[in-house]
Symmetry: C2
Subunit: 355 residues, 2 copies
């Protein structure tokens, strides 16, 4: 087991990474302030891990309320959030009761947001079961639901008490979801960690085989990258925005096609390549740099071509982005491989890269 | 103008108290990070102050979006919250756009909660126009909406950038609402400030006349009390719970009769007297102490008799309280006048005081 520490002054916590961590609930028990917990999960994950986790907790004397939601980004809504809150209220959950998010990014984001606002805040624990959630969404305290007018528009910064990333849960992950997670892994290399990008180029074949040693390294290095950036800027007032490389374009793809049609990581992959091409037009990346990014995304089984949307539709979808300031969209771009920055793009560049 | 400073490490802010503060928007402008703001208010307050405030802000170059909601505790719901969020999204409000809460406690609580969760948090300013909001709900960062299963069950701790308490707005306040605000003023004397309780006994007649000097003193002293307690315990892990004197019983009254039938302050007044009687049964208050509390509440035009509910109904309503821990309700009681503490009540005592 490896541990990555997220040192936030008001709420430090550990990310535990290892194979078959779910078999041992002692780290969970250590952070429960009360022997009462809800396991929030979805209909896909529940048959795989819920009964085992619930039984282990109950054997340790914890009263467990399972809350099983429908699976998919299209359910990351206010209605589903209310299902969680209604269940907590109906079962008289208290301020020291804990929510456990057992699932992917959607489950983690919704459970974290429910924990942030139930009785003005109760403890929660992330147990990410997808690669995307393990390397990205479960770390850093961003929680949210979608709104018809924009992705992740309603939410809170709210940190978990613990993140438990069981690599064993990735064995059952469908190939498409696994690849979607690799998009965020590649992102860390691109924005701030060229050696990791190069390691990924050398080891993508092993990662695609789900080689456990390679996977353990990739998850830990991703979490270390994320933790470092979150510690520097918890509330996204500066460098944390880098983590949104590809996301302004990606969110537009997801919203434009309808949530759930493209997976988040797929949209981010295509979005990162749009950002790379824009950076090339600005003279910061070479043709070879862009080709390396495209090759690595392709090796990870990811799309590199954004879907066709009219320019006006792109603009309208992106104008809702949370990084908009004074009406201008702030894009995350690349100064070079391994060096992100925040910039603006004029219409001519945008038209060309989105054509 | 008087200033009370709330010194919270991560988010210090000022409470400005004075007559006709709304005539000068410079203090507001000083804390807007962007010349863009929504004024959230209700259909009762809007005709009184909205046009003036909006015009003054617009004259200073601020783009203003007015959001006018229905008036009443019964509208402090998820649906009304969504009205605010939808308006912000439709008008493409950004992370640095500011929400102004112009109204009483319901407007302040809902606007603050909307600010806490819109794009994971945008700035907000409290402009309380009721006595209750000026002395209590606008200070300290508690924001929330009600849920059919309990009052203020969904919310966040989220601090305003500024509180602007214009005493002039209290001139137009209906007598019943004015009295409801006095309940929270009396509360500060009871829990932690015997000299203030005695000052209130001596000056209730002047306060009922809305004498501006007396009112200015009562609002400032109340805000100082609240600020001191909030600074000691922002997230209600200890002494902040004292501020809930009368509220466990009061929330049960409000929920039991239906939100809006009794005003919050009225329910708190009756609830404080139930707590006082329980403290008397425990041997902490004398008959004379309880009589003094009842007399002061009556002088403030407040009810001292809780409505009739069955004992089972009381228990069921109170069991949903946020102060419940390990299934037991924690009550705020009085050790003596001016000294609150947290305790439990056994069934015999509860039956007697609720009969």
């Amino acid at each position: 087991m490896q541990t990555v520490r997220v040192e936030l002054a008001h709420a430090p916590y550990d990310i535990l990474i290892g194979a078959d961590l779910l078999a041992d609930v002692r780290p969970l028990l250590a952070v429960l302030p009360q022997k009462r917990a809800a396991i929030v999960t979805n209909a896909t994950v529940a048959p795989l891990y819920l009964a085992r986790l619930q039984a282990a907790l109950e054997a340790a004397g914890v009263e467990v309320l399972p809350i099983v939601l429908a699976d998919g980004e299209q359910y990351k809504t206010g209605e589903t959030l209310n299902q969680i809150l209604d269940a907590l209220l109906t079962h008289r959950f208290e301020r020291k009761s804990t929510l456990l998010a057992l699932g992917g990014g959607v489950i983690g984001d919704m459970t974290g947001f429910a924990a942030a606002i139930y009785q003005r805040g109760v403890p929660f624990i992330q147990i990410p079961t997808t690669l995307l959630a393990q390397v990205d969404s479960s770390v850093g305290g961003k929680t949210a639901i979608n709104h018809p007018l924009g992705k992740n528009m309603i939410g809170a910064f709210y940190q978990p008490k613990l993140v438990l990333a069981d690599l064993g849960t990735l064995r059952s992950l469908p190939a498409r979801e696994y690849s979607a997670g690799l998009a965020e892994v590649i992102k860390y290399g691109l924005i701030d960690d060229l050696p990791f990008f190069e390691w990924l180029e050398a080891n993508m074949a092993a990662l695609m085989q789900r080689d456990e040693a390679a996977l353990g390294y990739a998850v830990r290095r991703s979490c270390e990258n994320k933790a470092r950036i979150v510690m520097a800027d918890e509330k996204e007032e500066g460098v944390r925005a880098w983590l949104n490389l590809g996301h302004t374009f990606g969110h537009a793809i997801e919203a434009g096609l309808g949530y759930g049609v493209w997976l988040h990581g797929e949209a981010v992959a295509a979005g990162m390549l749009v950002a790379a091409k824009a950076s090339q037009l600005l003279g910061d990346l070479s043709v070879q740099d862009v080709a390396r990014i495209a090759a690595l995304l392709q090796a990870a089984g990811l799309p590199t071509q954004a879907p066709t949307l009219s320019f006006e539709r792109w603009l309208s979808l992106m104008a809702q982005d949370k990084k908009v300031e004074a009406g201008r969209i702030r894009f995350i771009l690349l100064r070079r491989l391994g060096a992100a920055h925040i910039g603006h793009l004029d219409e001519a560049v945008l038209r060309q890269v989105l054509a």
